[in-house]
Protein backbone atom coordinates (compact mmCIF):
# COMPACT_ATOMS: atom_id res chain seq x y z
CA UNK A 1 0.00 0.00 0.00
CA UNK A 2 1.22 3.53 -0.82
CA UNK A 3 0.41 6.46 1.37
CA UNK A 4 1.92 9.95 1.10
CA UNK A 5 4.55 8.56 -1.29
CA UNK A 6 5.53 6.02 1.38
CA UNK A 7 5.10 2.27 1.07
CA UNK A 8 4.09 0.22 4.04
CA UNK A 9 4.08 -3.49 4.26
CA UNK A 10 1.14 -4.87 6.24
CA UNK A 11 1.97 -8.42 5.28
CA UNK A 12 5.17 -8.16 7.31
CA UNK A 13 3.14 -7.33 10.40
CA UNK A 14 1.11 -10.47 9.87
CA UNK A 15 4.27 -12.49 9.33
CA UNK A 16 5.79 -11.20 12.57
CA UNK A 17 2.59 -11.89 14.48
CA UNK A 18 2.35 -15.41 13.13
CA UNK A 19 6.01 -16.01 13.84
CA UNK A 20 5.25 -15.31 17.50
CA UNK A 21 2.09 -17.44 17.29
CA UNK A 22 -0.06 -14.60 18.51
CA UNK A 23 -3.65 -14.21 17.38
CA UNK A 24 -5.06 -10.93 16.17
CA UNK A 25 -7.31 -10.85 19.22
CA UNK A 26 -4.37 -11.31 21.62
CA UNK A 27 -2.31 -8.68 19.86
CA UNK A 28 -5.26 -6.29 19.86
CA UNK A 29 -5.57 -6.68 23.62
CA UNK A 30 -1.87 -6.10 24.11
CA UNK A 31 -1.88 -2.94 21.99
CA UNK A 32 -5.26 -1.83 23.37
CA UNK A 33 -6.86 -1.60 19.96
CA UNK A 34 -9.66 -3.53 18.28
CA UNK A 35 -9.06 -6.80 16.43
CA UNK A 36 -10.44 -5.15 13.31
CA UNK A 37 -7.73 -2.51 13.54
CA UNK A 38 -5.04 -5.21 13.54
CA UNK A 39 -6.69 -6.76 10.50
CA UNK A 40 -6.79 -3.41 8.73
CA UNK A 41 -3.08 -2.82 9.41
CA UNK A 42 -2.14 -6.30 8.26
CA UNK A 43 -4.13 -5.98 5.07
CA UNK A 44 -2.39 -2.67 4.38
CA UNK A 45 -5.58 -0.69 4.42
CA UNK A 46 -4.10 1.98 6.65
CA UNK A 47 -0.64 2.81 7.87
CA UNK A 48 0.39 1.84 11.39
CA UNK A 49 1.82 4.76 13.33
CA UNK A 50 5.41 4.64 14.53
CA UNK A 51 4.17 4.78 18.10
CA UNK A 52 2.12 1.69 17.51
CA UNK A 53 5.02 0.03 15.71
CA UNK A 54 7.15 0.78 18.73
CA UNK A 55 4.58 -0.77 21.05
CA UNK A 56 4.30 -3.76 18.75
CA UNK A 57 8.07 -4.27 18.71
CA UNK A 58 8.10 -4.03 22.47
CA UNK A 59 5.20 -6.43 22.87
CA UNK A 60 6.66 -9.05 20.57
CA UNK A 61 10.29 -8.52 21.53
CA UNK A 62 11.26 -7.47 18.04
CA UNK A 63 13.94 -4.97 17.08
CA UNK A 64 12.14 -1.67 16.45
CA UNK A 65 14.64 -0.52 13.84
CA UNK A 66 14.30 -3.70 11.81
CA UNK A 67 10.53 -3.69 12.17
CA UNK A 68 10.43 -0.11 10.92
CA UNK A 69 12.73 -0.90 8.04
CA UNK A 70 10.78 -3.96 6.96
CA UNK A 71 7.41 -2.27 7.41
CA UNK A 72 8.35 0.52 5.06
CA UNK A 73 10.29 -1.75 2.73
CA UNK A 74 9.28 -3.90 -0.24
CA UNK A 75 7.59 -7.16 0.76
CA UNK A 76 9.81 -10.22 0.82
CA UNK A 77 9.02 -13.26 -1.30
CA UNK A 78 7.97 -15.27 1.75
CA UNK A 79 5.34 -12.65 2.48
CA UNK A 80 4.06 -12.77 -1.04
CA UNK A 81 3.84 -16.54 -1.08
CA UNK A 82 2.05 -17.05 2.17
CA UNK A 83 -0.53 -19.29 0.70
CA UNK A 84 -0.55 -21.67 -2.20
CA UNK A 85 -1.54 -20.16 -5.48
CA UNK A 86 -0.53 -16.68 -4.47
CA UNK A 87 2.64 -16.94 -6.54
CA UNK A 88 0.66 -18.25 -9.50
CA UNK A 89 -1.73 -15.34 -9.19
CA UNK A 90 1.21 -12.97 -9.13
CA UNK A 91 2.64 -14.51 -12.28
CA UNK A 92 -0.73 -14.26 -13.98
CA UNK A 93 -0.98 -10.66 -12.93
CA UNK A 94 2.44 -9.89 -14.33
CA UNK A 95 1.55 -11.63 -17.58
CA UNK A 96 -1.61 -9.58 -17.87
CA UNK A 97 0.25 -6.37 -17.24
CA UNK A 98 3.31 -7.39 -19.18
CA UNK A 99 4.44 -4.30 -21.02
CA UNK A 100 1.26 -2.46 -20.08
CA UNK A 101 1.79 0.81 -18.27
CA UNK A 102 5.09 -0.17 -16.66
CA UNK A 103 7.35 2.79 -16.05
CA UNK A 104 11.11 2.72 -16.23
CA UNK A 105 11.30 1.99 -12.54
CA UNK A 106 9.00 -0.96 -13.03
CA UNK A 107 6.03 0.76 -11.48
CA UNK A 108 2.46 1.09 -12.72
CA UNK A 109 1.59 4.74 -12.23
CA UNK A 110 2.80 5.59 -8.74
CA UNK A 111 2.61 1.97 -7.58
CA UNK A 112 4.93 -0.97 -7.91
CA UNK A 113 3.53 -4.11 -9.54
CA UNK A 114 3.66 -5.75 -6.13
CA UNK A 115 1.44 -3.10 -4.61
CA UNK A 116 -0.98 -3.19 -7.53
CA UNK A 117 -0.99 -6.96 -7.41
CA UNK A 118 -1.70 -6.92 -3.71
CA UNK A 119 -4.58 -4.50 -4.18
CA UNK A 120 -5.99 -6.64 -6.97
CA UNK A 121 -5.64 -9.74 -4.84
CA UNK A 122 -7.52 -8.04 -2.05
CA UNK A 123 -10.28 -7.04 -4.44
CA UNK A 124 -10.43 -10.60 -5.72
CA UNK A 125 -10.62 -11.93 -2.21
CA UNK A 126 -13.40 -9.50 -1.47
CA UNK A 127 -15.37 -10.71 -4.44
CA UNK A 128 -14.66 -14.24 -3.37
CA UNK A 129 -15.01 -16.01 -6.70
CA UNK A 130 -13.92 -15.80 -10.27
CA UNK A 131 -16.45 -13.74 -12.27
CA UNK A 132 -17.18 -16.67 -14.57
CA UNK A 133 -17.94 -18.89 -11.55
CA UNK A 134 -20.14 -16.16 -10.18
CA UNK A 135 -22.01 -16.05 -13.46
CA UNK A 136 -22.48 -19.81 -13.22
CA UNK A 137 -23.83 -19.60 -9.69
CA UNK A 138 -26.13 -16.67 -10.45
CA UNK A 139 -27.36 -18.43 -13.60
CA UNK A 140 -28.01 -21.60 -11.61
CA UNK A 141 -29.98 -19.68 -8.99
CA UNK A 142 -31.97 -17.74 -11.59
CA UNK A 143 -32.65 -20.98 -13.49
CA UNK A 144 -33.86 -22.75 -10.37
CA UNK A 145 -36.12 -19.80 -9.54
CA UNK A 146 -37.35 -19.92 -13.14
CA UNK A 147 -38.04 -23.64 -12.81
CA UNK A 148 -39.97 -23.05 -9.61
CA UNK A 149 -42.06 -20.34 -11.27
CA UNK A 150 -42.58 -22.48 -14.36
CA UNK A 151 -43.83 -25.45 -12.39
CA UNK A 152 -46.00 -23.24 -10.22
CA UNK A 153 -47.63 -21.88 -13.35
CA UNK A 154 -47.92 -25.31 -14.97
CA UNK A 155 -49.27 -27.15 -11.96
CA UNK A 156 -51.21 -24.27 -10.44
CA UNK A 157 -52.76 -22.69 -13.49
CA UNK A 158 -52.21 -24.55 -16.75
CA UNK A 159 -53.13 -28.05 -15.58
CA UNK A 160 -56.39 -27.04 -13.82
CA UNK A 161 -57.45 -24.87 -16.75
CA UNK A 162 -56.82 -27.77 -19.11
CA UNK A 163 -58.99 -30.00 -16.94
CA UNK A 164 -61.85 -27.52 -17.01
CA UNK A 165 -61.65 -26.28 -20.57
CA UNK A 166 -64.68 -27.22 -22.62
CA UNK A 167 -65.06 -26.83 -26.34
CA UNK A 168 -68.17 -24.68 -26.56
CA UNK A 169 -68.62 -25.16 -30.30
CA UNK A 170 -72.20 -24.55 -31.32
CA UNK A 171 -74.35 -27.62 -31.51
CA UNK A 172 -71.83 -29.90 -29.77
CA UNK A 173 -73.13 -32.20 -27.06
CA UNK A 174 -70.64 -34.19 -25.03
CA UNK A 175 -71.40 -37.70 -23.87
CA UNK A 176 -68.18 -38.12 -21.94
CA UNK A 177 -64.87 -36.38 -21.51
CA UNK A 178 -61.90 -38.26 -20.08
CA UNK A 179 -58.63 -36.58 -19.12
CA UNK A 180 -55.52 -38.71 -19.41
CA UNK A 181 -52.19 -37.49 -18.10
CA UNK A 182 -48.93 -39.20 -19.01
CA UNK A 183 -45.90 -38.06 -17.04
CA UNK A 184 -42.49 -39.68 -17.27
CA UNK A 185 -41.01 -38.38 -14.02
CA UNK A 186 -37.47 -39.80 -14.40
CA UNK A 187 -37.32 -38.56 -17.99
CA UNK A 188 -38.67 -35.17 -16.96
CA UNK A 189 -36.07 -34.82 -14.18
CA UNK A 190 -33.26 -35.85 -16.56
CA UNK A 191 -34.43 -33.43 -19.24
CA UNK A 192 -34.76 -30.55 -16.80
CA UNK A 193 -31.35 -31.31 -15.31
CA UNK A 194 -29.79 -31.42 -18.77
CA UNK A 195 -31.40 -28.10 -19.68
CA UNK A 196 -30.22 -26.64 -16.38
CA UNK A 197 -26.63 -27.71 -17.00
CA UNK A 198 -26.69 -26.47 -20.58
CA UNK A 199 -28.01 -23.06 -19.47
CA UNK A 200 -25.33 -22.73 -16.78
CA UNK A 201 -22.50 -23.92 -19.02
CA UNK A 202 -23.57 -21.70 -21.92
CA UNK A 203 -23.78 -18.69 -19.59
CA UNK A 204 -20.33 -19.42 -18.17
CA UNK A 205 -18.88 -20.05 -21.61
CA UNK A 206 -20.35 -16.85 -22.98
CA UNK A 207 -19.01 -14.85 -20.06
CA UNK A 208 -15.58 -16.44 -20.48
CA UNK A 209 -15.61 -15.60 -24.18
CA UNK A 210 -16.66 -12.01 -23.52
CA UNK A 211 -13.85 -11.64 -20.97
CA UNK A 212 -11.26 -12.95 -23.39
CA UNK A 213 -12.41 -10.72 -26.20
CA UNK A 214 -12.52 -7.75 -23.85
CA UNK A 215 -9.04 -8.46 -22.52
CA UNK A 216 -7.60 -8.90 -25.99
CA UNK A 217 -9.28 -5.72 -27.14
CA UNK A 218 -7.91 -3.78 -24.15
CA UNK A 219 -4.39 -5.09 -24.76
CA UNK A 220 -4.68 -4.27 -28.43
CA UNK A 221 -5.93 -0.76 -27.60
CA UNK A 222 -2.92 -0.14 -25.35
Amino acid sequence: MVHSERYFNGAYLRLVRKRHQVTQQELAQTLAVSRQMISVWERGKTEMSETMLSRLAQALGEDFGELLERYYGEPAEEELAQDNGEEVARTQFEMIYEGVGLNEGGTIGAKTPTVVFREGRKAGRWRGLHPVCRTGIVTAIVTLVGYALLFTVLVGFVAPSLMQAVDMSEGMRYCERIMITVVDYPGLVCAMTAIFLVIVLVAMGTHCLIRRVKMRWQKHAV
Partner: protein, 156 residues
Protein backbone atom coordinates in the same frame (compact mmCIF):
# COMPACT_ATOMS: atom_id res chain seq x y z
CA UNK B 1 -25.39 -7.42 -12.75
CA UNK B 2 -23.98 -8.86 -15.96
CA UNK B 3 -24.40 -12.31 -14.48
CA UNK B 4 -28.07 -11.73 -13.68
CA UNK B 5 -28.81 -10.35 -17.14
CA UNK B 6 -26.98 -13.23 -18.79
CA UNK B 7 -28.75 -15.79 -16.62
CA UNK B 8 -32.14 -14.27 -17.39
CA UNK B 9 -31.44 -14.31 -21.11
CA UNK B 10 -30.33 -17.93 -20.97
CA UNK B 11 -33.41 -18.97 -19.02
CA UNK B 12 -35.72 -17.04 -21.33
CA UNK B 13 -34.23 -18.69 -24.39
CA UNK B 14 -34.57 -22.10 -22.76
CA UNK B 15 -38.17 -21.42 -21.75
CA UNK B 16 -38.97 -20.58 -25.33
CA UNK B 17 -38.19 -24.18 -26.18
CA UNK B 18 -40.47 -25.65 -23.51
CA UNK B 19 -43.79 -25.71 -25.37
CA UNK B 20 -43.97 -28.73 -27.58
CA UNK B 21 -43.28 -28.14 -31.23
CA UNK B 22 -43.71 -31.41 -33.01
CA UNK B 23 -42.37 -31.66 -36.55
CA UNK B 24 -45.52 -32.92 -38.18
CA UNK B 25 -49.21 -32.23 -37.85
CA UNK B 26 -51.50 -35.18 -37.46
CA UNK B 27 -54.66 -35.21 -39.51
CA UNK B 28 -57.57 -37.52 -39.24
CA UNK B 29 -57.52 -40.05 -41.99
CA UNK B 30 -60.78 -41.00 -43.72
CA UNK B 31 -62.25 -44.05 -42.07
CA UNK B 32 -61.68 -46.20 -45.13
CA UNK B 33 -57.95 -45.42 -45.19
CA UNK B 34 -57.22 -45.42 -41.50
CA UNK B 35 -55.21 -48.25 -40.05
CA UNK B 36 -53.50 -48.98 -36.80
CA UNK B 37 -49.92 -47.77 -36.86
CA UNK B 38 -47.33 -48.82 -34.35
CA UNK B 39 -44.66 -46.37 -33.29
CA UNK B 40 -41.10 -47.16 -34.26
CA UNK B 41 -38.94 -48.57 -31.48
CA UNK B 42 -37.11 -45.87 -29.56
CA UNK B 43 -39.89 -43.33 -29.85
CA UNK B 44 -42.13 -45.02 -27.34
CA UNK B 45 -40.38 -43.35 -24.41
CA UNK B 46 -40.21 -39.93 -25.96
CA UNK B 47 -43.03 -38.31 -23.96
CA UNK B 48 -42.27 -36.44 -20.78
CA UNK B 49 -45.58 -34.86 -19.88
CA UNK B 50 -48.66 -35.10 -22.02
CA UNK B 51 -52.31 -34.53 -21.29
CA UNK B 52 -54.99 -35.97 -23.53
CA UNK B 53 -58.70 -35.33 -23.65
CA UNK B 54 -60.69 -38.26 -24.94
CA UNK B 55 -64.43 -38.59 -25.37
CA UNK B 56 -67.53 -38.79 -27.48
CA UNK B 57 -69.51 -35.82 -28.69
CA UNK B 58 -72.45 -35.35 -30.99
CA UNK B 59 -73.19 -32.66 -33.51
CA UNK B 60 -76.18 -32.24 -35.83
CA UNK B 61 -75.12 -35.00 -38.19
CA UNK B 62 -72.39 -37.16 -36.64
CA UNK B 63 -71.26 -38.99 -33.55
CA UNK B 64 -67.64 -38.11 -33.04
CA UNK B 65 -65.02 -39.89 -30.97
CA UNK B 66 -62.06 -37.62 -30.42
CA UNK B 67 -58.61 -37.46 -28.82
CA UNK B 68 -57.05 -34.08 -28.25
CA UNK B 69 -53.48 -33.39 -27.17
CA UNK B 70 -54.21 -30.63 -24.68
CA UNK B 71 -50.70 -30.17 -23.38
CA UNK B 72 -47.23 -31.49 -24.08
CA UNK B 73 -44.18 -30.36 -22.16
CA UNK B 74 -41.08 -30.21 -24.34
CA UNK B 75 -41.08 -31.60 -27.86
CA UNK B 76 -42.26 -35.20 -27.77
CA UNK B 77 -43.64 -37.84 -30.09
CA UNK B 78 -47.24 -38.32 -29.01
CA UNK B 79 -48.95 -41.28 -30.61
CA UNK B 80 -52.73 -41.55 -30.39
CA UNK B 81 -55.42 -43.72 -31.91
CA UNK B 82 -59.18 -43.36 -31.58
CA UNK B 83 -61.90 -45.68 -32.81
CA UNK B 84 -65.68 -45.35 -32.83
CA UNK B 85 -67.91 -48.40 -32.37
CA UNK B 86 -71.66 -48.83 -32.66
CA UNK B 87 -74.23 -51.55 -32.08
CA UNK B 88 -77.99 -51.86 -32.09
CA UNK B 89 -78.07 -53.52 -28.67
CA UNK B 90 -76.49 -52.42 -25.46
CA UNK B 91 -73.10 -53.95 -24.78
CA UNK B 92 -69.83 -52.96 -23.16
CA UNK B 93 -67.80 -55.42 -25.21
CA UNK B 94 -66.20 -53.84 -28.25
CA UNK B 95 -65.92 -57.24 -29.92
CA UNK B 96 -69.69 -57.32 -30.13
CA UNK B 97 -69.83 -53.87 -31.71
CA UNK B 98 -69.12 -52.73 -35.22
CA UNK B 99 -66.12 -50.45 -35.75
CA UNK B 100 -67.43 -47.43 -37.63
CA UNK B 101 -64.28 -45.40 -37.93
CA UNK B 102 -60.70 -45.24 -36.70
CA UNK B 103 -58.10 -42.48 -36.78
CA UNK B 104 -54.44 -42.71 -35.96
CA UNK B 105 -51.91 -39.95 -35.36
CA UNK B 106 -48.26 -41.05 -35.23
CA UNK B 107 -47.42 -37.68 -33.69
CA UNK B 108 -50.25 -35.56 -32.38
CA UNK B 109 -49.26 -31.94 -31.84
CA UNK B 110 -50.31 -29.98 -28.80
CA UNK B 111 -53.68 -28.35 -29.42
CA UNK B 112 -54.57 -30.72 -32.25
CA UNK B 113 -57.10 -33.51 -32.18
CA UNK B 114 -57.97 -36.57 -34.18
CA UNK B 115 -61.53 -37.73 -34.65
CA UNK B 116 -63.39 -40.83 -35.72
CA UNK B 117 -66.94 -40.17 -36.76
CA UNK B 118 -70.06 -41.72 -38.19
CA UNK B 119 -73.52 -40.30 -38.93
CA UNK B 120 -76.28 -40.93 -36.41
CA UNK B 121 -78.88 -42.05 -38.94
CA UNK B 122 -80.65 -44.45 -36.59
CA UNK B 123 -80.86 -44.87 -32.86
CA UNK B 124 -77.78 -46.86 -31.83
CA UNK B 125 -75.43 -47.52 -28.96
CA UNK B 126 -72.02 -45.88 -29.35
CA UNK B 127 -68.73 -46.45 -27.65
CA UNK B 128 -65.20 -45.14 -28.28
CA UNK B 129 -61.76 -46.59 -27.71
CA UNK B 130 -58.45 -44.79 -27.45
CA UNK B 131 -54.88 -46.08 -27.51
CA UNK B 132 -51.74 -44.31 -26.42
CA UNK B 133 -48.31 -45.04 -25.03
CA UNK B 134 -47.91 -44.46 -21.31
CA UNK B 135 -44.77 -43.18 -19.59
CA UNK B 136 -43.28 -46.70 -19.58
CA UNK B 137 -43.81 -47.07 -23.33
CA UNK B 138 -46.64 -49.57 -22.80
CA UNK B 139 -49.51 -49.39 -25.28
CA UNK B 140 -52.59 -48.52 -23.22
CA UNK B 141 -56.28 -48.71 -24.05
CA UNK B 142 -59.07 -46.57 -22.63
CA UNK B 143 -62.76 -46.80 -23.42
CA UNK B 144 -65.70 -44.51 -22.90
CA UNK B 145 -69.05 -45.74 -21.63
CA UNK B 146 -71.77 -46.91 -24.00
CA UNK B 147 -74.23 -44.20 -24.98
CA UNK B 148 -77.56 -44.40 -26.74
CA UNK B 149 -77.97 -41.70 -29.37
CA UNK B 150 -81.02 -41.30 -31.54
CA UNK B 151 -81.25 -40.24 -35.19
CA UNK B 152 -81.57 -36.58 -34.21
CA UNK B 153 -78.35 -36.70 -32.21
CA UNK B 154 -80.02 -36.67 -28.81
CA UNK B 155 -78.20 -38.47 -26.04
CA UNK B 156 -80.80 -40.70 -24.44
Amino acid sequence: MVSVVMASLMLASACAAFPAVAPQTAEALPCEQAAVQELPEGEKDARLWTQFEFGIRVDDTDVIAYVKNKFTFLPSVVHARVALYASETYTEDLDEMEMKCVSVAPDLDMGHEITAWAPHETTMYWRAEMNYYDDDGVYQTRETGTYLIDADGNIL
